[in-house]
């Protein structure tokens, strides 16, 4: 299990990257950390991977305290945001080095390498130097290396960045297999659809703090109400700017060709939205009322940044949906 309590990280220079982050990953569970760029996701994952120590707070990984990094390292498989590959080494040489770093016996390493090369579609590349790989192939190698020593727990920082849809699907299937074998998996991602499909539990991090947590379904429910998606005929940015001066009940977000309005308790009638759009001369092509997706959750919890410094976020704004249902405001 991976458990962190009140992790705080202040970088040299005084920048506060994490403020009291607590999270938990049980055996046989994939937990996602989502949040905007610079929110602190990578910092949290690097601390749990023993890359560096937290400024305060405690954590245990596979039953070992963070201060005992030597006991944690053999237990975890890590793929950080930087692929961490040597451009002058071949894929095969990376497997050899990785096996030696983790003390995997040669025979076992060769057997596992063959399996991972096959699984991650690296057969055509494994004898080439990594500098000649595409970004996606480098990412696949990085993920394969993380599994070479058959770790108990897995920590992946944006693991699917750069993967093509097929490779992404294969990797997601691998993660589900690992989860089904009882491994705890902690990953960060920017792809909310992926988080929705993979993760049993999500932490939304913004400005170094957890602003919401819960299962994807619970988080969507926490946003409340419905999303009213309107496809407009004019340039969507143009319509959005016209709406800005007219609509007092929260700015819609732009999603492709659509404006997405949050339909909450205050705005029960989507007709009011349509009427407003007609008032600003928007050409309405299509509209539909849908349940909010994780994009809506993401925007809801992180979209409106306050001007306050990190650390001054009022913690009572954190919404927490406890495992097993129920919701409480912290």
């Amino acid at each position: 299990m991976i458990a962190a309590t009140d992790l705080t990280k202040v970088y040299a220079g005084g920048r506060r990257a994490l403020i009291g982050v607590s999270l938990r990953v049980h055996e046989g569970e994939i937990v996602g950390v989502v949040g905007p760029n610079g929110a602190g996701k990578s910092t949290a994952l690097k601390i749990l991977s023993t890359v560096f120590a937290p400024s305060s707070g405690t954590a245990t990984v596979c039953g070992h305290d963070l201060s005992d990094a030597g006991s944690i390292r053999p237990c975890i498989g890590v793929a950080l945001q930087d692929v961490g590959l040597d451009p002058l080494m071949t894929g095969h040489e990376h497997f050899t080095v990785q096996a030696s770093l983790y003390g995997v016996p040669r025979d076992a390493a060769a057997c596992r390498e063959a399996r991972l090369v096959e699984r991650f579609g690296l057969s055509d590349h494994v004898d080439q130097v990594v500098g000649a790989y595409s970004g996606g192939t480098q990412r696949r190698l990085s993920l394969a290396l993380a599994l070479l020593h058959e770790p108990k727990a897995l920590i992946f920082d944006e693991p699917t960045v750069g993967l093509d849809p097929r490779a992404r699907r294969q990797f997601m299937a691998t993660l589900r297999e690992l989860r089904d074998q009882g491994h705890p998996v902690l990953l960060s991602t920017q792809y909310l659809e992926e988080a929705n499909q993979l993760c049993q539990y999500l932490y939304v991090i913004d400005e170094g703090a957890v602003v919401a947590e819960g299962s994807p379904a619970d988080l969507r429910a926490a946003v409340g109400g419905l999303a009213f998606r309107v496809t407009v005929g004019d340039t969507v940015d143009d319509v959005a700017s016209r709406v800005a001066g007219t609509w007092q009940s929260g700015q819609p977000r732009i999603d492709g060709e659509q404006l997405v309005f949050h339909v909450s308790d205050q705005i029960r009638d989507p007709d009011a939205i349509l009427a407003m759009l007609r008032r600003v001369d928007a050409e309405i092509r299509e509209y539909r009322l849908v349940t909010p997706d994780l994009d809506d959750v993401f925007i809801h919890f992180t979209g409106e940044r306050s001007e306050s410094e990190p650390g001054q976020r009022p913690m009572d704004m954190t919404v927490r949906i406890q495992r097993g249902g129920g919701q409480r405001w912290k």
Partner: protein
């Protein structure tokens, strides 16, 4: 132990894959010195202070060996900085073995390369007219001292690169070899140095290392006093640079 061996082989392989930066660039200037510079200044040996009848190429050969040693000692530092930039360093840090075996292996791979440089330069100097009395002893002392000096001196660039993650800093430190060698007896004997510089040269380990290599190559013997001072100088520099590497490593862990 096995991980150190794998990393050592990896570092040597890497040097073969980028020969321009790991072999050619560190050797160009020393080869120029031993083939051209030594002949341009050939008549300097007629000045009192040099042994009568000696050839300048024989006198300057140890200086070129030290120069190659200093120019080629930053490879481990540059590679470590690149590892920090690419995230490979963090890959090692999150492994049970950590990053130390890789850094050690890189430094020993550097030392191996510098020993080979010393032998190449000694052979070129011999081809240019330097007499070698005892081939085995001469090459052994030259290779060993060049490797150890590179190992000790290269620690400075490594500490800087670990602390900053900047490969450029290692290259910026390269010109340091100029004052260190020119303020020693590597290019001219002590009596020919200005009076104020003689005091510095007496404390400069490069003086004793160059003298020890020269005696071993030309006279085919080991001068106990000189080699002892050379070893002490290398040890002191190694101690200082190792302390800086340790501090840089501590900082990296606390980032």
């Amino acid at each position: 132990m096995e991980v150190a061996l794998v990393m050592y082989k990896r570092a040597l392989r890497e040097a073969k894959r980028i020969p321009i930066t790991t072999v050619i660039i560190p050797l160009v200037l020393p080869l120029f010195m031993v083939t051209i510079f030594a002949h341009v200044f050939a008549r300097i040996t007629s000045v009192s202070g040099f042994r009568s009848g000696s050839q300048y190429v024989a006198y300057v050969a140890p200086a070129t060996i030290l120069m190659a040693s200093m120019l080629g000692s930053a490879t481990a530092a540059v590679s470590t900085a690149v590892e920090i930039q690419t995230g490979f360093f963090d890959r090692m840090r999150t492994s049970p073995a950590g990053a130390v075996p890789s850094m050690l292996a890189r430094r020993f791979a550097d030392a191996t390369r510098l020993a080979v440089f010393a032998i190449i330069l000694a052979l070129v100097a011999w081809a240019e007219g330097m007499p070698i009395s005892n081939w085995f002893l001469g090459l052994l002392v030259a290779a060993a001292l060049a490797a150890l000096w590179g190992l000790a001196y290269g620690g400075l660039a490594l500490a800087a690169c670990v602390r900053t993650g900047s490969a450029e800093l290692a290259n910026a430190l390269l010109p340091l070899f100029f004052p260190i060698l020119f303020m020693s007896t590597a290019f001219v004997p002590l009596p020919l140095l200005p009076h104020w510089l003689q005091g510095i040269a007496r404390w400069n380990p490069a003086s004793y290392i160059a003298d020890a290599i020269r005696v071993a190559l030309i006279q085919g013997r080991v001068d106990g006093g000189t080699i002892w001072r050379a070893a002490l100088g290398i040890f002191c520099v190694a101690l200082a640079t190792q302390f800086l590497i340790w501090r840089a490593g501590q900082w990296l862990g606390r980032r």
